[in-house]
């Protein structure tokens, strides 16, 4: 759905986006993660034909961003970093303007649909200036979707929102995913990306890596399980040494932290061995590193490599 090849953007001497290669599949929620100033907004602007690439190429729904800007704009919706509403105009009027610019056939139906979906119908005649940040963000989302775009670019959709408003927006994005739209989600909120995205690209002017959140964790930290025991005598850890596929066993208080390749396959062998050695097993669980850990680890790793 979105493909970039060595996509590069320079502003004078500064390289904002450096040889970016991406392939976003149809219907997926693609997370584009990076720190502030990493070039996420610049990338979105290139993909929505707001600015042109310095070199490289990008295609959106098979259309080249350089030669098919108008067609791309018709099938994409963008939620910019700030809502950018016409503050003196009502919510309804804001949407009417964009419905007309996208030349949609049934504007009033669409406006009502999205204002109701986002809980703004009762405030439709109120000026946007009177709205809370969360309401403004919801109105901006409605504006981005009014023409039912195939691809939606969301640039920091929950930044500066309170937790309740952020949750509402996240739930709405999850709903969009079920509708089968392709969503390109720019964020530096790792928890948000973890919850919403099928795949994630870690980006800092250049692409660090792309994968599913689970694979990213596995690649960076490997997979680990934690076994909670009533007691943890030394022989229990020793009894597991012979099981192939186990990389490391670390006893911590009444727990065993085991690094392994394929928990689904090896866990039954481990449990059986522990039971045979009279262990009282209380809980077994997978140790999940946060995406933040993965992100920081990768950023540090790449920085060290560059040095």
């Amino acid at each position: 759905m979105i493909t970039t090849e060595n996509l590069t953007k320079k502003f004078a001497e500064k390289i904002a986006v450096d040889r970016l290669n991406l392939h976003v599949k149809e219907g997926e929620v693609f997370g584009f993660l990076g720190p502030n100033g990493a070039g996420k907004t610049t990338t979105v602007r290139m993909l929505t034909c707001l600015i042109s690439p310095t070199s490289g190429s990008a295609k959106v729904n098979g259309l080249d961003v350089r030669s098919h800007a108008m067609q791309i704009r018709k099938i994409t919706g963008i939620l910019t970093e700030t809502p950018g509403l016409y503050e003196n105009l009502s919510a309804e009027r804001n949407l009417e303007i964009f419905a007309s610019l996208y030349e949609i056939k049934n504007p009033q139906e669409q406006i009502e649909k999205y204002l109701r979906l986002l809980g703004l119908w009762d405030q439709r005649r109120d000026p946007a200036a009177t709205f809370s940040k969360g309401m403004k963000q919801k109105l901006a989302i409605a504006r981005a979707l009014i023409h039912e775009p195939k691809i939606v670019f969301l640039d920091e959709p929950t930044s500066a929102l309170d937790p309740e408003a952020a949750r509402l927006v996240r739930d709405f994005i999850a709903g969009l995913r079920q509708e089968g739209r392709t969503i390109f989600l720019c964020t530096h909120n790792l928890d948000e990306a973890d919850r919403l995205c099928d795949r994630i690209a870690l980006f800092k002017s250049y692409l660090l890596t792309v994968d599913t959140p689970a694979n990213l964790r596995a690649t960076v930290f490997g997979r680990k399980i934690v076994i909670h025991l009533r007691e943890n005598p030394p022989h229990l850890a020793q009894s597991l040494q012979s099981i192939s596929g186990i990389k490391n066993i670390k006893p911590v208080d009444n727990k065993l932290v085991i690094s392994l390749e394929d928990p689904e396959k090896i866990n039954p062998l481990i449990i059986r061995a522990l039971v045979e050695n009279s262990a009282d097993i209380q809980f077994v669980g997978e140790l999940r590193h946060s995406l933040e850990d993965v992100y920081l680890q990768l950023i540090n790793q790449k920085s060290s490599e560059q040095e």
Partner: protein
């Protein structure tokens, strides 16, 4: 054309909420219409015709023969203020147009707008017409009210004909829209380059200076506005409008506006 109309309607919805703009559109035409009519009214029975023999020969040459010296002086006085009508299409749209692009920038609404399938020409045409139409309508309506006033207040049909002669009709109905287009495109150029609507507004008023020079030049007797001057002005305006439209479109660089403008 539908997108152009959408932009015009959007601009009007936003701009006419601003009391300053509404006041400018209402107050200025009222004042500029009232001034020459007051002068016409107050001078019609001033007995100036008694002094016709004292009128300078140069002044008398400028008036139709059927006017007395006093009537000629009355026409001369009122004529000084008719030129104010030509200031309306310059001043009124500046308020609208200067706010046009910078206002979008300060609200940060330009990026979502530019992400829609609208061309630069459609966008600028919409913004142009949104500023030009109210200015031209205000000018024309004011002049029509003035013309009615002249017919009612003028001592005789000779005075009325002299005041509503073809040079002023050309100036108001042909030159004024051209002036409005020049003013708007100059304002759009300025507002594409600056960040603050106030700066845009102040810089845009520069376009009024040539007309002020004409106004004071006429009062000082340095320039006499006749039909030929107006026709030359129309020719010059057509040329300047073409240049201004070309520059406004070319200076409106989407990428530069989005990436180099700093938020206020």
């Amino acid at each position: 054309m539908k997108k152009v109309i959408t932009i015009i309607r959007k601009e009007w919805s936003e701009v006419f909420i601003n009391r300053m703009v509404v006041m400018t559109i209402i107050f200025m035409p009222l004042l500029f219409t009232a001034l020459p009519l007051i002068i016409l009214y107050t001078t019609r029975n001033a007995g100036m015709s008694e002094y016709s023999s004292d009128m300078p020969a140069q002044l008398m040459k400028l008036c139709p023969q059927e006017l007395t010296g006093g009537e000629c002086f009355q026409v001369y006085l009122v004529n000084q203020f008719i030129i104010l009508f030509m200031m309306m299409p310059l001043i009124i749209p500046v308020n609208i147009a200067a706010y046009s692009i910078v206002g979008e920038k300060t609200q940060r609404s330009l990026e979502p707008l530019l992400a829609t399938p609208i061309t630069t020409v459609e966008l600028l045409l919409g913004k142009n017409l949104a500023a030009v139409i109210p200015a031209v309508l205000a000018t024309w309506v004011s002049f029509i009210i003035f013309a009615i006033g002249v017919v009612i207040l003028a001592q005789n049909s000779h005075v009325a004909s002299a005041l509503l002669d073809s040079k002023w009709l050309l100036a108001i109905f042909i030159a004024s829209p051209l002036m409005a287009v020049l003013s708007v495109n100059f304002s759009l150029m300025v507002s594409s380059r600056v960040n603050d609507p106030r700066v845009a507004e102040q810089l845009s008023t520069v376009v009024i200076l040539p007309l002020l020079a004409l106004f004071f030049g006429q009062i000082a007797g340095l320039i006499f506005i006749n039909k030929m001057v107006i026709l030359l002005m129309i020719g010059l305006l057509v040329f300047l409008d073409i240049v201004a439209i070309y520059l406004a479109v070319h200076l409106f660089q989407r990428e530069t506006i989005l990436t180099r403008w700093k938020s206020i």
